[in-house]
């Protein structure tokens, strides 16, 4: 179950977005998060909306996956909408019933802000849905490369990320095993008062911690035995390749930015 939550994220498909370099995708998302704040009227929101839907279409991700991923946050979007709707006190009063007062600005802001929120979530999900975690790691390592000059441990961070990714499934399997072993000893994880259930986590966490430390120690020895001595002088097996499509995507996003600046009020 837990495995699905994290690893069900990447959906393999053969699409323009899937084939893009993770560096260009990361840059794109970063720019998108910035320029979305340029939108402030219906024209600009339409542009952003069209762009988001175009990208969603290009990703070839089946709608049910998108829906599955977005479902938990949809409520937040609705909540944001209601918050704006009821608490904005500007513009003309359009609806009045008891204590509930709805103003025209409230409706407008409600739509704008919840749409902005929705587009942001959709675009960032597209990133994780079309890019494997290890590609994201490689992309980040490469993009943050210049920070090495100021002694920021870019390589170490990337290695840590990839080792974590490598060990998540292993630790999940182990958690499952320990849980079963504890259930066999009479620990109840799924029923009983909340206090007991929290207590039940302890006999799960402690063995997990102990074994993780042991793993870490053995892994460190194994890595050293295979000649690992830090990032210096290391070559890379995985190759990132920037293609024409990547440049085009960024140019397209630049055009969108210009349009937003032109049409915003």
């Amino acid at each position: 179950m837990m495995e699905k939550m994290i690893f069900g994220r990447y959906v393999p498909a053969d699409s323009v977005l899937h084939r893009m370099d993770p560096r260009s995708k990361l840059t794109m998302i970063f720019l998108f998060v910035c320029i979305i704040f340029l939108a402030n009227n219906w024209q600009t929101y339409t542009i952003i909306g069209l762009y988001t839907f175009l990208m969603t279409g290009l990703s070839k991700i089946p709608v049910r996956f998108l829906y599955g991923g977005l479902k938990p946050v949809i409520w937040l979007v609705v909540f944001t909408f209601l918050l704006q709707l009821f608490f904005t006190r500007e513009g003309t009063l359009v609806f009045h019933w008891g204590v509930i007062k709805i103003y025209s600005e409230g409706i407008k802001m409600g739509f704008y802000i919840s749409f902005r929120f929705f587009f942001l979530i959709l675009m960032t999900s597209l990133l994780t849905l079309t890019t494997t975690p290890i590609e994201i790691t490689d992309g980040l390592e490469s993009l943050l490369g210049p920070l090495k000059k100021i002694r920021f441990p870019v390589h170490e961070m990337a290695l840590m990320m990839s080792i974590s990714l490598r060990f998540i499934p292993t630790l999940m399997q182990e958690t499952d095993k320990i849980m079963k072993a504890q259930i066999a000893r009479g620990v109840e994880f799924a029923s009983g008062p909340i206090k007991n259930r929290i207590k039940a986590v302890i006999p799960l966490l402690i063995p997990l911690f102990v074994s993780s430390f042991k793993r870490a120690e053995e892994l460190a020895v194994a890595m050293e035995a295979r000649g690992y001595r830090g990032g210096e002088g290391r070559t890379k097996y995985r190759l990132l390749s920037w293609k024409a499509a990547d440049t085009l995507q960024l140019i397209f996003l630049a055009v969108i930015t210009v349009l937003l600046i032109l049409f915003r009020s």
């Binding site: 490598r166 399997q173 035995a225 295979r226 000649g227 001595r229 290391r234 890379k236 097996y237 995985r238």
Partner: protein
């Protein structure tokens, strides 16, 4: 004449905060191209010895020489290219997110150019028959498969020596045979030297030579024949003689001749029924 590839001279080692020496005045040679089995009870210092061979630890006293180079802090990286190690737990030595990444890990560390890396990754996975699993993630592999990937990772670095530190002890009999077969084939093909640390005496019986460790010291050194002939002493050390070895011995005492000196259980059975049917 046999040429030594590794030699330990009066090596003593102690872990910090430990009262007893983990190794005490250990001296022996390992010869080029041999299969050496090291056996001994838990805590007898086998793993410690393996770690001293490639500079994961340094001796307190004594000298370790590998391929003619005496080990010191400066040349450990050279030595580590020559000695590949495969450890016990298949999970805790798998560094990469996929099979190919894991094999490439050692190559990346050595700064091998990418074209060469791709070639070597493919070649070594071919040799351990794991080329079908190139982009597979480790949690989808069996223990035996992971160990074969670990061997491929070692092979890719073109070592002269492979150390298996209980590399098969967490595997089922089939996985164990898979891994050992792989190493045997590679050894013959590439004239590797294999040092196998093991609790499996059946496996040790097939080695060219054996070393028995006891409480941080070399208790006995010799061919499996010689080692197994001192059965009482072995049992006193907590090591049991494999059934097939006992059987062979019993047959010989009864005057029944067998083709080879030591046979695995299966070979023994085959040999017995074929010789019976000839009569």
């Amino acid at each position: 004449m046999k040429k030594e590839i590794v030699s330990l001279k009066d090596v003593t080692f102690q872990y910090d905060g430990q009262e007893r020496n983990a190794l005490n005045q250990v001296s022996f040679d390992i010869y080029e191209g041999e299969w050496l089995a090291i056996v001994g009870h838990n805590g007898s210092g086998k793993s410690t010895m393996a770690k001293l061979l490639n500079g994961l630890q340094f001796p307190k006293e004594g000298r370790v020489t590998v391929c003619g180079i005496e080990l010191n802090e400066e040349n450990i990286w050279e030595i580590r290219k020559k000695i590949g190690m495969v450890f016990q737990n298949p999970d805790n030595q798998f560094v990469g997110t996929t099979v190919e990444d894991d094999v490439a890990f050692g190559l990346e560390n050595m700064g091998i150019p990418r074209e060469e890396m791709i070639h070597r990754v493919e070649d070594s996975l071919n040799r351990v028959k794991m080329d079908q699993f190139l982009s597979q993630e480790p949690h989808h592999l069996s223990g035996g498969q992971k160990q074969r990937v670990a061997i491929a990772g070692v092979l890719a670095l073109r070592p002269a020596i492979i150390i298996l530190d209980e590399a098969t002890s967490m595997l089922d009999p089939r996985g164990r045979e898979e891994v050992l077969e792989t190493v045997r084939a590679l050894k013959n093909e590439k004239s590797l030297t294999v040092i196998s640390i093991t609790h499996d005496l059946e496996e040790a019986a097939k080695a060219d030579r054996m070393i028995v460790m006891n409480k941080g010291e070399v208790f006995r050194e010799g061919t499996p024949d010689e080692i197994f002939s001192m059965d009482e002493q072995l049992i006193a050390l907590g090591l049991d003689i494999p059934f097939s070895v006992k059987m062979t011995k019993a047959f010989r005492e009864k005057g029944i001749q067998l083709s080879k000196h030591y046979l695995s259980e299966e070979e023994l059975v085959t040999e017995l029924w074929t010789s019976r049917s000839r009569m």
